[in-house]
């Protein structure tokens, strides 16, 4: 049952991801990416990472892709295909890089063959719940958490600087 569900969801995720690349209209690509994100969220739930699954929807599907689609809507240039300067050199670089990525994927699959699901008995604090994420954030990961706060502040400032370039006061 769980395996069947996994296969269905995984196929959806991969198909949607491929569609992102195939589509020529950037809007369709972005919409397809939402499908990938939703499928990934289901996979997270199946891995017992409930909190991450919900955050996946809230942040990726609900905020990042909204930004993407906003940009596409604002630029409004789907008919005139965006002129991309074809850089021949990069094309040849892509082949070894793709090979490297594939090798890495195969290595991971080969090494990690059996993942033991965290078995939690009734009454215990489960892994992947909001509680465990919250506690981990302030114990093991306190420093990364604060760094993330600084990073977000930098991003805020960066966004303002970028958008204010031309002719503003």
């Amino acid at each position: 049952m769980e395996k069947a569900l996994f296969i269905i969801i995984a196929v959806i995720a991969v198909a949607a991801a491929l569609n992102v690349l195939i589509q020529r209209n950037p809007l369709y690509s972005a919409l397809s990416l939402i499908g990938t994100m939703a499928a990934l969220s289901v996979l997270y739930v199946m891995l017992r990472a409930q909190f991450i699954a919900a955050v996946q929807i809230v942040v990726y599907a609900g905020a990042i892709l909204v930004l993407f689609i906003f940009v596409i809507m604002l630029l409004n240039a789907p008919k005139q295909q965006l002129q991309i300067d074809k850089q021949k050199g990069l094309r040849y670089l892509a082949i070894p890089l793709a090979g490297l990525l594939l090798a890495e994927a195969f290595y991971v699959v080969w090494r990690v063959q059996d993942i033991a699901m965290p078995v939690v008995k009734e009454g215990e604090e489960a892994v992947g719940t909001t509680w465990s994420v919250g506690v981990a954030l302030f114990t093991h990961y306190l420093l990364p958490f604060q760094v993330a706060g600084v990073l977000l502040l930098m991003a805020l400032i960066g966004a303002v600087v970028l958008a204010r370039r031309e002719g503003d006061k």
Binding site: M73, L75, V120, W131, L142
Partner: protein, 132 residues
């Protein structure tokens, strides 16, 4: 599915399937049951009865982009607040975490301070004024 409660997510799939079927049925219904006599004028973009001028595919104000990017950043901050809020009270009361009491409080206050600094910066730069 060994962890208790994980099966409780299955209804999401059920309601999603139902909603998709419902939405498709409604769209199909309006497509096939309504009358369909298109004319040139009827299919033109609505512009209060006047001949449409130009196209709607034009570039829009960068302000909308700024709103979207600020939303994204603050949304991530809110997401960080949620797990903290959930654990905070239990941490204060359970003896197991007593020594971490002020880490949980102070850690979030530092984070919130950064958030407020960001907000004040946007404010002072006039990003939050729509009629800039």
């Amino acid at each position: 599915m060994d962890q208790p409660g994980i099966t409780n997510y299955i209804p999401i799939l059920i309601i999603f399937a139902l909603a998709v079927v419902f939405a498709t049925a409604m769209i199909a219904m309006s497509r096939f049951m309504g009358r369909n006599r298109p004319t040139r004028e009827k299919l033109a973009p609505y512009e209060c009865g006047v001949e449409p001028v130009g196209t709607a595919r034009e570039r829009q104000s960068v302000k909308f982009y700024l709103v979207a990017i600020l939303f994204l950043l603050f949304d991530v901050e809110v997401v960080f607040l949620l797990p903290w809020a959930v654990v905070f009270r239990k941490v204060l009361t359970s003896p197991e975490y007593q020594h971490l009491k002020f880490v949980f409080y102070g850690g979030m206050m530092v984070f919130l301070f950064l958030l407020v600094v960001g907000l004040i910066y946007e404010w002072r730069k006039g990003i939050l004024d729509w009629n800039r």
